[in-house]
Amino acid sequence: MSGWDNIRSSTRSQQGRSHSLNQREPSRTVTLGRVQPQAPAFRTIYCNDRDANFAHRYRGNSVSTTKYNFFTFLPKGLYEQFRRVANLYFLMVSILSATPYSPVHPVTNVVPLSLVLLVSLIKEAFEDWKRFQNDMAINSTPVDVLQDQRWESIPWKKLQVGDIIRVKQDGFFPADMLLLASTNADGVCYIETANLDGETNLKIRKALERTWDYVTPEKACEFKGEVQCEQPNNSLYTFTGNLVIDNQTLPLSPNQILLRGCSLKNTEFVVGVVIFTGHETKVMMNSMNVPSKRSTLERKLDKLILTLFGTLFTMCLIGAIGSGVFIDRKYYFLGLSKSVEDQFNPNRRFLVVLLTMLTLLTLYSTIIPISLYVSIEMVKFIQSTQFINKDLNMYHAETDTPALARTSNLNEELGQVEYIFSDKTGTLTRNLMEFFKCTIGGEIYGTGMTEIERGVAERKGIKVQEVPTSINSVREKGFNFDDVRLMRGAWRNEPNPDACKEFFRCLAICHTVLPEGDESPEKIKYQAASPDEAALVLAAKHFGFFFYRRTPTMIYVRESHVERMGKIQDVSYEILNVLEFNSTRKRQSVVCRYPDGRLVLYCKGADTVIYERLVGGSDDLKKVTREHLEKFGSAGLRTLCLAYKDLAPDVYESWNEKFIQAKSSLRDRERKLDEVAELIEKDLILIGATAIEDKLQEGVPDCIETLSRAGIKMWVLTGDKMETAINIAYACNLLNNEMKQFIISSETDAIREVEERGDQVEIARFIKEEVKKQLKKCLDEAQQYFHSVSGPKLALIIDGKCLMYALDPSLRIMLLNLSLNCSSVVCCRVSPLQKAQVTSLVKKGARKITLSIGDGANDVSMIQAAHIGVGISGLEGMQAVMASDFAIAQFRFLKDLLLVHGRWSYIRLCKVVTYFFYKNLTFTLTQFWFTFYTGFSGQRFYDDWFQSLYNVIFTALPVIIVGLFDKDVSSSLSKRYPELYKEGIKNMFFKWRVVAIWAFFAVYQSLVFYYFVTVSSSTSQGSSGKMFGLWDVSTMAFTCVVVTVNLRLIMICNSITRWHYISVGGSIVAWFLFIFLYSGIMTPYDRQENIFWVIYVLMSTFYFYITLLLVPVAALLGDFLYLGVQRWFFPYDYQIVQEIHKDEADDSGRTDLLGIDNQLTPDEARSYALSQLPRELSKHTGFAFDSPGYESFFASQLGVYAPQKAWDVARRASMRSKPKPKPNKIN
């Protein structure tokens, strides 16, 4: 509220100063993370007057999100490319190779570099083109603008500041605009801000009373006014400005502003004035460039590249020193006696060393795999656009949403995630509360089975058949209850009909819900602060107690079957007092007067608080109900106890006086109200309890279970109350009663006591001490469990306030140690900022790969803080998706995203990288060995074109094919054996050990290539007695290298498709085609004709064929031996799975083989059965009720104006004397 006051006061102060606006100094508005310098502090907009506005040259409404335009593409694109070290390095080498020091022709380095650049630029251009098209589509969306007393349809981009426009129902606002008039009464309109903050509940905007009439075009064109308002800024929730009409200055507030990106709901149309356009709209100013994330694998790759640079330097140094030692006049055939250029001058050996260094640098440049980055990019691009985006297993048919990889940088990171941070509402749950079961007078009603019950049953091996729903069962969103015993008045025949009646009345009366729409059971809509409440009222409706109207003092209920079957009567209850819900009270009460004068207090709340206040006696009922509550709780349901109490008029009157006194007190009103409430909320009579299913998203428990088997730890970070959070954690298998739970809560008596004293410093110190104590205790205990062999799994539950102190640098380590030992962690009542803090605590502190998943604006910071951000797309708003790296429609798709795509991408990328490393090292080392035999002169072994095409043609394609198609196990097996994912978490395939093994074999192979070929060619070949020269030998060696390196690729493949054969065969064939052509022609171009006819000479000898057979085999023998031994004695997990399913056909139709338990060994099955035996204590009863205040909790964190509060709803009701039927076009 205070934030709201600030805004208002600032408005007022501006108003006061409006006469002296010109003297105002330019102010700097500090907003979220950005400082906005503003030249003039305000802008003046002349409504409906394009000519007057023209002078200001406001920006148009067309929006461009492209990176380049036609002219900047080349310079900017190239600049971007050369920011990469590898490209810059190759540019330098290319320049170097144009100097006389180079042993190679510039073509050697220029060709690969330009090919790489070309591919990258084409990719950039393609992506930018798509962005451009997207912009075009948005910019040409039509909107109605007022021109000549008519609504003309023009595209968005033509819109200008000051235009008066009309937006129809469900339409999006094309720019930030000032609401003038609405077709709804009182100038009210409803907007959905899902695109901005992810909240789907409708917000109300209200026009100034002065402008209500400008609805029709005729009227609207008469509107002349000036808007003086702040300069464009990125603060979504503030706006200051004035509207000047007829010399009258009216203050404007955010309440009159409709932001671009929002859409109009429940209103036929609105009329407004455009104030900010295009890039100056608040939503566009908010879309800052998200810092691009780099995957850990890529960062490790950088280290590898650095190591390669080190190796390169060492090689060059060795060669250069050798050349300094070698060079000598005695080799007269080198012509060193006369004046010699510096590079070979024996008198200046040091210079020789330096220059040879440069020479060798260009010669060995191939050790840095130039095409690596572009290949990786290409592979990842196809992986994300073709595989992830088009995977039917991640396609949500209901909302028509496929998965979306918004960045292709992080594909392989998905294969290494160890921690998942999940939001609750909207991610794990659908935020859809459904009345599911209830217990009345010791009798359970409701036949449904929750997903968690089903899961438990399935694990026990019980076959669950779908309970046939009775034919006449009613289903509505929010009501999923099926039991004929209560429906259609059948409750009258139940053992305890009076309890039933009180139960239903309690549901229908004790709430703060507001009905909207038609007063018929079919069309009515309930507006509630929390969806639980709406579900309860809805349930009452279905039980025949239809709450249809609320006035400030009355509640009207249409009751059926009360007096006799089939009788329907409208009953009005006078509401005398509402004792509101809050988190300390955990209950809500209503005192009402029946038409017959009976005074009743209805109360609903957490079982703990209700049981404390029950009247003595009827212990059986209490016991049975408690058992039921526990049963509901362990089924993942949210429970509320209902109770009532008849009041005597005199008791009530005396209490009411105290109540009124408390209500009007100015100091400590809340506390006093609570105290007064205590006086009357006692000696209650228990009626029963409700059980609401917080509907989980489909497949969540199964997904979480699978992910936890994959070694991924799940943290739930939620703004909800602890009880709610624990409940959901139970429902989705994160917690169970076998776990040791550590609860660190600020809701202890000790803390509350200190808080009541009100000394902020003291509170902080005390809570910190307390948190420290608790953390220490938990940590000690945890370590005890951790050291014992078969201890229970651990879970940590901590609330936001404690977390705030636990995140303090001094306690951080302890928190981290504790939480890393826990298999699941639940953080409740955390702010968006804390979500991000926790995420980065694990990310930085534990150096583990983290993934955040969420759906709303409050998850954005968390999504951006984690290594990988995943947004839930489809239903809710766009904010989370816009900040995310991947968007999926359902939480359960995480399984596919991580276990299938992530794992594959990771393994593929590892293969691509290590293979690249190997092939370039092998190739370069043969050069290196040759250097020793050339007097360290830096003579090249291979022809220029061989060297330049080696990376881009002869070995390029197969490795990309591996990056796309390699599959160790099929997708269904990946999901069936989630444990395989652990190999990624441990980074098994890109350890230094793996790289070292590749390096070892690269050295071995290069030695084989070099020595086998040179030694075997030292005598004459063929029967003609003629000798081979340098180029014959090198062509032979190169042929062996190309063949071997390509064959080696086949050896790393786990599955070989047609494309593998084509690409590997194609690469080898490409080499032969090339060399046939290249050595077959003499060019008029001035160059040395070294290679002329070489291949034909070679192929005329038997030597060629025997060598071509021997050398690759000899080179690969070592690798093959290694592979055989490795698989035999130290198999990877995936290899065992491969062997198990060796003979199975490939992916039988990709149907989900979710059977987790059919593969259990008998021993396992028994141990599982043992673990599933019923335990004695099951403390969990499942109380949960979203406090109406929790939204404002976020709001105050963000400085957000949050109008939706329970009492607001009630107040709104009281202001409307008679709810008039609204034109509601939705239904």
Partner: protein
């Protein structure tokens, strides 16, 4: 029409399989059976190939004679460099080579140089292929540094390689009769006909102050100067052989061949060796056991590995395709 539609559907199916990543693939699993089989196969292939290669190499008779030191008269051996650089001293020398095995014609004569860096960068690039083909018509001889011109006139053939042409000569006498040496067709045909011009004659060659090696007869076109062509196909390693000619008569066992040679070429400066080699040739080429040995070795080690793996397979059979071998299952048993 129908085929069109079918093709379209086939393409769609292929694309579907591609995006769903379920392209038909063969999945090789390297089971012990496969490992053993492949090693066995390698052994079976390479041992015969190696034996055949070795046999070919063994058929070749080769006589090698190092003559660089022995051909320097005893008194000059202290300072071989000044001996070789002194033109006034006659450089002829006689060597005796005994044939230890019947040699069938053609017998190839090679000279072999050691520690001679024909593959040095400065050396390799010091030539002009254009000039060799076009002669004086081609003026740009900058690539021939530092032997590109003399007295402001271009040298043909230019460059260090040609300049340092080997110029020892050999004559062979058996039982008093001179053995005819065929010095034609000693260079690769592709070099002769495409790289060295038929109308290009040596010009201004070895006229400078520094004379490196052999001179060329200016009357004979480069395409017929086969010594030069052979020399200019630079060798891969600093120790190399080059073909000098062919004796086209058989040599019998215990024949003694007298070699009268002119020891002109200076290898003494840099301590290089000079050798003369007489060798017959097989279908595979000259005497070189390396390939054969390598093949036999590869084959034998494959066989050995196959046997070792087989023994291992019998003795310590690893449970293949066993669920309990999975680490997470193993852990659950131990724990």
């Amino acid at each position: 029409m129908d085929t069109d539609r079918e093709r379209h559907r086939a393409r769609e199916t292929a694309f579907y399989l591609f995006t769903q990543q379920s392209l038909p693939a063969c999945k090789p699993v390297l089971t012990p059976g496969w490992v053993i089989a492949i090693f066995l196969f390698m052994g079976v292939i390479f041992i015969p190939v190696g034996l055949v290669t070795l046999r070919a190499s063994h058929c070749v008779v080769e006589i090698v004679d190092r003559y660089d030191i022995d051909c320097v008269p005893e008194p000059s051996r202290m300072d071989k460099v000044s001996y070789i650089q002194d033109d006034s001293i006659p450089k002829n020398c006689s060597r005796f080579m005994k044939v230890h095995k019947y040699m069938k014609a053609p017998i190839y004569i090679y000279y072999q140089l050691d520690n001679y860096y024909q593959n040095h960068r400065r050396y390799v690039k010091s030539r002009s292929d254009k000039q060799l083909l076009d002669g004086q018509k081609y003026h740009d001889t900058s690539s021939c540094q530092p032997v590109e011109s003399n007295n402001n006139r271009p040298i043909v053939p230019c460059g260090l390689i040609a300049w340092s042409l080997f110029n020892d000569t050999f004559e062979f006498i058996r039982e008093g009769a001179e053995l005819k040496v065929n010095r034609k067709n000693i260079a690769w045909k592709s070099d002769r006909s495409h790289k060295f011009g038929k109308n290009v004659y040596p010009f201004n060659f070895q006229n400078g102050t520094l004379i490196g090696g052999g001179k060329l007869n200016p009357e004979i076109p480069l395409s017929d100067q086969e010594d030069l062509i052979v020399w200019m196909r630079t060798s891969a390693l600093p120790s190399f052989r080059k073909l000098y000619g062919r004796i086209e008569e058989d040599l019998d066992v215990d024949d003694v061949v007298v070699v009268n040679l002119m020891n002109n070429y200076n290898t003494y400066s840099f301590g290089g060796k000079k050798k003369l080699a007489l060798s017959t040739s097989s279908w595979l080429g000259g005497k070189n056991d390396f390939l054969g040995h390598a093949c036999v070795f590869a084959g034998c080690s494959s066989l050995t590995l196959a046997i070792i793996f087989m023994l291992l397979h019998v003795k310590y059979r690893r449970p293949y395709g066993d669920m309990s071998y999975l680490p997470w299952n193993r852990k659950s048993f131990s724990g």
